[in-house]
Amino acid sequence: MAKILGPHHGWILAAYIVGAMVSGAIFLALLTTVPPRYRKPIVMVLTFLAGLFYSLEFLLPPEAWFFVKPNRNPLTDWRPFVGTLTQIVWSFALLLGVWNLFQIHGKAVVKRGPGWYNSAAFFVAFAAIVFAGFAKDMSRSTAPAQLYTILFKGFLTSLDATMFSLIAFYIVSAAYRAFRVRSLEAALMMSAAGIIMLALVPVGAVVTNWLPNTGFLSIFRLEKIGYWLLIGPNMAAQRAIAFGVAVGGLAMSLRIWLSLERGSFFDRQL
């Protein structure tokens, strides 16, 4: 077995790789011949088996009686491999999205509909950074690296940061519009937000600066109230949500693992 796994080099390696590809292709071809009524059970069984990996890896402690060798859960050793494999296979899916982008923007450019030049700009930007990236790693010239800096640092990170910072503006308009005393709920949310906004800045804390810094009255100082709101009621409420989400997530995972999930994607004929 170890001999087959290699590592191999030169022609033998090439032969092995081609062999793996061919056997893979044969396997896929075989899959296409599976009659429809067996398809769903196959997917179900594979989903279940895949789910077993991480479940058993966690649920079986190394000291369990059936692990003979000095207390190891053998699945744990496979974790890095499965992690890498997942990442690699997942990477192949990226082109699905890129392909869709190409289709939509390609059509726009070919048709010359309104705004086609935007789609053209999409292709230019795409090609430029792919070229600069790969050329930077392959050629010895510094020009691609500089182009890459301009595209990545000049455009991409600036666009990222600016888009993110738009929230600074939107948070103002959202607060202004939403925080009206229409209902008890809105009023509660508004008050909590207002107190914490005041409490977090020294200028706001001036409001209650006349209160003593220690003793009973000090708990009414704004920064203390804000702090209390954050670690008291806020944490309790967040934890209540967290427990609900935890159980909901567990239930949904369980349904998917055991193929009990219902809904269009899962009810479909294969």
Partner: protein, 287 residues
């Protein structure tokens, strides 16, 4: 009446322009005044670093890079100033390749201002790619096994600051200056096991999550974003200096106050319209 009615429907573009002005004005004008209210977590941070014994060093762990310079640089500078002022020796440890250069430049600038000397008063350990927990736990057991040379390539055994540092025993405190959730690594691998105080300097986004840890004492003090840095500068006696931290702290304060004023104005308009019996536009509901 026209004004009050209009107050609850200010055009959002005006709001955007106003908030931009509210933030930009202090940044451009650079007011001289520092906040004179100091939050207890900032005071505790100051006390922590102020009580480090003279024969021990402080580690400034800088995780930040250019992305969060606006918040983390003032914090780093304030801490450096304090340590120089007290004559406590410190080392800077950077986890970001670009941040490593930035913190080095900061140190050089401040040492010039305060008449201090590299190597004698402080040392920059350069960029460390991590992983953080191995570096930290290794450093606690053998400082010189983990760190061999400083940023310039000088062996650490030749520099006065680091010469005598063997392990955790010569380390007095740690300050973590970070834009991400890295502080737990320090807590778990260094500060809790060896019972060392930790000063936490997060960005404002991260600060909210830290309050429970302040409460439990796992973090001894905190500088919340640039506001914390400005308050720290006040404690350092810089209240009438024009610093960036003070300006940014004013900008943030006025932004908060501006939003609260807006909420009040909107509610005034709302209350007025409701009394008049007119339904407000849109009638959006929360729920």
């Amino acid at each position: 009446m026209g004004i009050l009615a209009r107050l609850q429907n200010i055009d959002r573009r005006i709001l955007y322009l106003l908030i931009a002005l509210v933030i930009a004005a202090p940044l451009l004008q650079r007011p001289r005044r520092h906040p004179h209210i100091i939050f207890s977590e900032v005071r505790n941070a100051y006390k922590t670093l102020d009580t480090v014994p003279k024969d021990k060093i402080v580690i400034l762990s800088a995780v930040w890079g250019p992305g969060t310079r606006a918040e983390n640089e003032p914090q780093t500078e304030a801490l450096m100033r304090h340590l120089f002022m007290r004559g406590t020796k410190f080392v800077v440890l950077s986890w970001d390749p670009l941040g490593s250069d930035l913190t080095y430049d900061d140190g050089l600038r401040i040492q010039r201002e305060m008449g201090k000397q590299y190597g004698r008063d402080w040392v920059h350990l350069g960029y460390n790619p991590g992983p953080m927990y191995t570096v930290i736990s290794g450093m606690a057991k053998g400082f010189h096994q983990v760190f061999k040379r400083d940023k310039l390539g000088t062996p650490l055994t030749k520099l006065p600051v680091t010469m005598g540092v063997k392990d955790y025993r010569q380390i007095g405190a740690v300050a973590e200056i970070t834009p991400s959730g890295t502080v737990w690594t320090w807590i778990a691998y260094f500060n809790t096991p060896y019972n060392k105080p930790l000063v936490y300097c997060p960005t404002a986004v991260m600060a909210a999550e830290a309050y429970p840890f302040l409460d439990s004492g796992q973090i001894s003090g905190m500088l919340n974003g640039v506001i914390g840095a400005a308050q720290y500068e006040t404690l350092l006696g810089m209240e009438d200096k024009r610093t960036y931290a003070a300006a940014a702290s004013w900008a943030l304060s006025s932004a908060h106050i501006f939003i609260i004023l807006l909420i009040i104005l909107g509610n005034l308009g709302y209350a007025f319209m409701k009394r008049k019996g007119t339904r407000e536009q849109g009638g959006r509901r929360i729920g």
